[in-house]
């Protein structure tokens, strides 16, 4: 029967285009994880519980959406987690220096933007492969955060700033609303504007893109800068949620962020992928993490499952794309 289906699909390219897509893997995984979680604990049938479990991952989700754009354009940014920590520490240092909350937020966002710009300039001007450069800046930014904050927790923020995850509209926490709106806006940008189409072309074939008059370097530079800016926003959100900023916050977050993008079916070599997949994958990670916590599996042991999922997600996506290209 499988053979019949595959023959039928190969005779109908349009149908195949819509059915053989990695995003459906994400949707199926999401459904499976929801059903198995409900079997595990009745709490999962409660939408408010899932919404509450989602808030700690919103910061990662925001970055995963920008990282989707970067990976579609054929690059990658692994310094994201360090940029969260660095901007949070700069924010804390600035606020404790007594320059007021609005200025501190501006400085945090600005420093994130500068970090991203630095990545972007080195990638586009010196042509250093982004995957190895951002491994270097990962160490650098985390190191600067450590030099600034030492081993102290920078706290003492006003009460209106702390606990953004406890503000709700109905049953939906404000961070989840921010994330959803951001995903819709970026998704629209990617699928329906000319800039979005240019990203796909750059990822598919940078040389052709260049010769067709697309400003490849300028677009990549702006993507890396945007990634820095969003990491700045995530840094401030995280500080608001935890009420302190430390140099070692979001350690290892690059695993979860890259996992969200990969589970969403974005092709690691660029040129394919979309925001819808990343959005669904965000909820998979949320439900998976909450489910593992409910099952009382230690946070550290959960790393095994997340790491294995990352590898399986890449292999599966590559397999589906190799099938859909035949």
């Amino acid at each position: 029967m499988l053979k019949n289906i595959s023959i039928y699909l190969s005779e109908n390219p349009t149908l195949r285009y819509w059915i053989v897509r990695p995003e459906w893997v994400a949707v199926i995984l999401l459904i499976i994880s929801i059903i198995s979680s409900i079997q595990l604990s009745p709490f999962f049938a409660d939408l408010a519980f899932i919404m509450d479990s989602a808030t700690p991952y919103v910061e990662y989700g925001l970055i995963a959406i920008i990282l989707t754009l970067i990976i579609i354009s054929g690059e990658i940014d692994l310094s994201i987690a360090s940029m969260i920590a660095l901007t949070a520490v700069i924010f804390g240092t600035a606020y404790n220096a007594g320059i007021g909350m609005p200025m501190s937020i501006v400085i945090a966002l600005l420093s994130g933007t500068l970090c991203g710009l630095f990545n972007g300039i080195l990638v586009t001007q010196l042509q250093i492969p982004s995957i190895i450069l951002t491994i270097g800046t990962l160490t650098l930014y985390r190191g600067i955060a450590q030099s600034l904050a030492s081993d102290f927790s920078l706290g003492g923020y006003p009460s209106w700033f702390i606990g953004i995850d406890y503000r709700y509209v109905g049953i939906v926490p404000i961070p989840v609303i921010i994330f959803t709106i951001f995903a819709i806006v970026v998704g629209f940008f990617l699928s329906s504007t000319i800039y979005g189409k240019q990203l796909y072309l750059i990822g598919t074939n940078p040389q052709t893109a260049k010769y067709s008059g697309i400003k490849v370097n300028r677009i990549k530079l702006s993507l890396f800068t945007l990634s820095g800016l969003v990491c700045g926003i995530a840094g401030v959100l995280t500080t608001s949620r935890l009420a302190v900023a430390r140099f070692n916050m979001a350690t290892g977050a690059e695993l979860e962020i890259v996992l969200m993008v990969m589970l969403g079916g974005t092709y690691i070599f660029g040129g394919r992928g979309n925001i819808f997949g990343t959005f669904i994958a965000f909820w998979i990670v949320v439900i998976l993490r909450a489910g593992l916590n409910v099952a009382r599996i230690k946070i550290e042991s959960q790393l095994t499952i997340l790491g294995a999922m990352l590898i399986i997600a890449i292999i599966l996506t590559n397999y589906i794309y190799s099938k859909s290209q035949k």
């Binding site: 450069l133 990969m262 550290e300 042991s301 790491g307």
Partner: protein, 328 residues
Amino acid sequence: MTVFDKFLRIRELGIFSIIVVFVIVAAIIDPRFMTIDSWRAVFLAIPLILVMAMGQMMVIICRHVDISIGSILAFSAIVIGLLFIQFPGLSLWLSLLITAFVGLVMGLINGFIVTRFNVHSIIVTLGTLSLYRGLVFIVSGGRQIDRNDIPEHVVSFSQTSFLFSIPAILIFSALIVIVTHLVMRHSVLGREIYATGSNPVAAHLKGINVTKVTLFCFGVCGMLAGVAGLFYASRFGYVNPGVTGVGIEFIVIAGVIIGGTSITGGSGSVLGTFLGILLLGIINVALPVLNIPGEFQKAIYGLIIVVALALDQLIIYRMKKLSGGLNA
């Protein structure tokens, strides 16, 4: 090729002169830096990283990167620590064999996924970095291996030996470095690794089994990280699942890259890598002597990686321009 060789030699001269300048400056600022004690500290700090750097260098020459080595180190250290609790009489040679085997298997898993599914090695090893770290917690149950769990003959491995009481760990890592040099420079396999790194497609057409060569590099890299696990247990006398080996991969990569190994594969030497690691070791010991707080160490290492990457890219750019092949 002769121009290339000459060029490599100049590159190692560069890092060597940086070391000399750094040592002279440090010695002028504070003469305490030139005492035997601080040099003993330098040479006790590097064997662990040096052994791992040999494997990492092979992987990078082969156009890949393995960032899971810190977790491999932790896993083999935990395994050998748990074995020491069960069998305190476990001989040093047997424990070396066990750690090497554990590391080899984990390295081969990395290599298998990379070669079989053709995915970028950094993404694969980002996954196995967490996977192996999770295994460390599962195997150890989150408990630390304490000083009194590690038998005396293993601890003395990093403190003394039959030869002028030079720590045996140092002699052993020197042996590994020499063997790596011989393999890379004077064996067919070593030349095949360079060929694979410079141009995998051409290497395949030339009849080199690229998959096998890549697997070999990842296997050796894992194996040496496993051996480093035993070094760690011997040198520090404890193994903590949450601390051991975390972030060490970036120090190793920093050392390899500033040693002149090109991240685009195909070039790099054992001597350069040794000098790169030596520079990091000297910086590590010089920081407290120069009154720079330890918190700055990571930032300095990060800066070194980024600067070395930029320099490497500039040199490649210049070389392409010189050979007239620059058209992109």
